[in-house]
Each structure stands twice: as C-alpha cells, then as structure tokens.
C-alpha cells in the first residue's frame, strides 16, 4: 500500500479552537469587495451569493481581515 494522504478541510483539526478573538462581519457595511477573502491566510472566508461568510470552524482569529477591510466592516471581538 502506498501511504497517500487525502485532501480534507481540517487536516490539522478544527483550527477555530485556536482563536482568542473572533472577526465579526457587519453585513450592512460590507460592500463585498472581497479583500478579506484574498488576504485570508486560512481560506476561512468564503463567498455566498452577494456577501462573504466567515468559517468559524477554521478561522484562527489572526485579524488580517479586520485590519485590511477598507470599510471597517469587520471588528475583532473577544471570544
């Protein structure tokens, strides 16, 4: 048997457990510019029809999205 690894989300578990602060998106302010999406180190921001969603199962809470959001639509809140 060749030891092949299988691709899966959470190859290292539910990394959302690492988080101490969580990004909270204000959908009213969000213009869906997708900068948070392109700068997310975790691929934890994904697109829905007209807005983005944050995948809290894997988001490690680094805060890059909140820092880069030009509209200030993402705030970091303590868990």
């Amino acid at each position: 048997m060749i030891p092949l690894s299988k691709p899966k989300k959470g190859a290292s578990g539910k990394t959302g457990m690492w988080r101490t602060e969580k990004p909270v998106l204000d959908k009213e302010r969000c213009t869906n510019c997708l900068l948070c999406w392109v700068f997310c180190p975790e691929s934890a921001i994904y697109r829905t029809e007209d807005k983005v969603e944050i995948d809290y199962e894997y988001c490690k809470g680094c805060g890059v999205c909140a820092n880069e959001c030009a509209r200030g639509a993402i705030k970091m809140e303590e868990e």
Binding site: S5, K9, S12, T15, R19
Partner: protein, 316 residues
C-alpha cells in the same frame, strides 16, 4: 501587464474552489498560505505541486490528511527543484507515449530551501531549462525550526542564532540578492511579488506558469512569530516592504528588467517612497535598530542603494 489575456478580478477568482483547504497548521496570520492561495488562483489546468521541507510542508500535510486539493509531492529539504525536474520529465514522457496533455508544475520553497539548502538543485534545474514555476516564499529565516538565520535574513535582524547583545547586533551579513542570482541564469521569467499586491502577484504567477522553460517568483512572506509582529499586521507589513523600497516589485522577462505596480509608481513619483523605519517599526526583530540612529541610517542607506541598483537595471 497581462499574461495572454489573463485578467484576474476578485469576483471571478472567488468563484473558483480553493485549492488550499482551511484547517492547516500554519500559524494564525501566516503569510505563506496567503502567497500559496494567490499563486494557486493563477493555475490554468491540471497542476502538480512540489514542496520543499519547511513550514508550508510540515503544516499542511499531517498524515493521513493533506490541505492540498491537488497532486502534491515532497521529498527533501535540498531537492525541491530536482524533484520538480523529475515530475516535468515524467510529464514529458506521458505526453510522448500516451499523448496525454502535460500538467503544469509549481515548486514551493522557503528561503532556507532556496537561498541555502536547495540552491544547487535550483541552479541545476534552471540550467537544464526545465519547464516549471518555482515560488520562493521568503520569510527571511528558518522559521519552522525556531527562527535561525538564513542566507535571506537581512542585516541586523534578530534571530535565535544572531542574537542582539553587546558584541553583535543581530545578523552581521547582508541578504543574498537571490533574484539577481537567479536572473543571471538567463531563464525566461523572474519576478518579485508581495501578497499585499494580490493582482500583481497572481498575474506574475500566471506568466511564470505560461512561459516555456523555468520561471522564478520571489514573494515576500511575513512571519509573525519570527518577525515579532502582531498577527493582524501581516498584509500591512508586506505592503510597507514595497512602499519603503525594501522589497521592490519587478520582473525580468527574457533578460529585460521592468519595475511593476507600486514600485513603478514610486520610481515615477519618488515622494511616495516611505522611510524604511516604517517597515522596521512594527517588527520586534528590528527594535534595536530603531534605538540606534547610526544603525538606522546604515539600514536606510542599504535600502536606498539596492533600490537605485534595481531602478537602474529597470531603466528608470
């Protein structure tokens, strides 16, 4: 700047499946995965990834799972380019014998696996003119093993093997100009990029994939553990690296040097250039420089000298 009509926009790119899946073990705020995500947005079809040993490799492939939703191979620290050469050769044979279309090959290596340990394999693959894109994610030290200095660590940076004390103030040697060394191999495409300028990076990655022969993409990749900065500052620092001309954005197409994006704008309007202290300030590894005026001046002079050299090469 375009790669055969490839004109990426975030709306289109975000509709594609992510090829690096969430839930890997890279640190919060790690820039390596941002670079990888952006590069993988540039793929044009079946692609095989070859990975050197390093943070990226150990953190994304915890057996029996992997975060890579595409074929991926790792062999050792020193031979990512040689492994890529082998994959390219196998692809050529498949194409010849079974007329199967070739997959593109992308190699990822950190600065340790590129500047130091993997350098002869890289140089050999470039000389053999093997058709693959080599992506260097440069976090300027051996971060995976605990922040030891590498050939890429800049002068005066603190690492665990270049401590700051009364005898020495961080690393005492200069950062190797790897882009110029690689460009000296006369390969068809060499470029630098910063994940803060995502479009510039993605277009360059696509150009590197499309050219016949080897291509080299050098992306600055901040490391919050090793650079001692806040996890949320990752992109901000990657942007300041370009805005201060510490890390100019340029490309070399068939020997022709050209500044791109923000760096080209700074060459045209020098008042946009920020002092290097703005790049140093958020990083703990440089905190001793900011307390020492003569050291800070020397760092600024070195940045200016390198920027002038790149501008001259680019005919600006």
């Amino acid at each position: 700047m375009n790669a055969g009509g490839f004109n990426p926009n975030l709306k289109g790119l975000s509709q594609q499946e992510d090829l690096l899946l969430p839930g890997h073990r890279l640190c919060a705020g790690c820039s390596a995965s941002i670079v990888v995500r952006q590069v993988l947005k540039a793929v044009r079809g079946p692609t095989i990834v070859v990975n050197a040993t390093g943070c990226l490799e150990v953190a994304t492939t915890i057996y029996p799972y992997t975060s890579w939703a595409l074929p991926w191979i790792h062999s050792a620290f020193e031979n990512v380019a040689a492994t890529a050469s082998g994959v390219v050769a196998a692809e050529r044979a498949f194409e010849r014998k079974k007329s199967e279309p070739k997959s593109d090959v992308i190699a990822f290596g950190g600065d340790g696996g590129t500047y130091d340990i993997g350098f002869q394999a890289l140089s050999g693959a470039l000389e053999r003119y093997d058709d693959f894109l080599y992506v260097l994610y440069d976090n300027e030290a051996y971060m995976n093993t605990g922040i030891q200095r590498s050939g890429s660590t800049p002068k005066y940076a603190w690492t665990t093997t270049t401590p700051v004390g009364s005898v020495e103030a961080g690393k005492m040697e200069y950062k190797k100009p790897i882009d110029l060394i690689v460009a000296a191999h006369d390969i068809p495409y060499v470029a630098t990029a910063s994940p803060a300028y995502w479009r510039d990076l993605i277009v360059k990655a696509r150009k590197g994939i499309e050219v016949d022969g080897p291509a080299f993409l050098h992306a600055i990749s901040t490391c919050d553990r090793g650079w001692r900065h806040d996890t949320s500052d990752t992109i901000e620092i990657a942007r300041l690296a370009v805005e201060t001309c510490y890390f100019p954005l340029f490309e070399v197409e068939n020997g022709e040097f050209k500044l791109t994006g923000r760096s080209r704008a700074i060459a045209k309007r020098p008042e946009l250039k920020k002092p290097v202290s703005e790049f140093l300030k958020p990083q703990g590894r440089f905190s001793h420089i900011l307390k020492n005026q003569s050291m800070l001046e020397e760092v600024q002079e070195n940045v200016d000298r390198y920027w002038e050299r790149i501008k001259k090469l680019c005919g600006e």
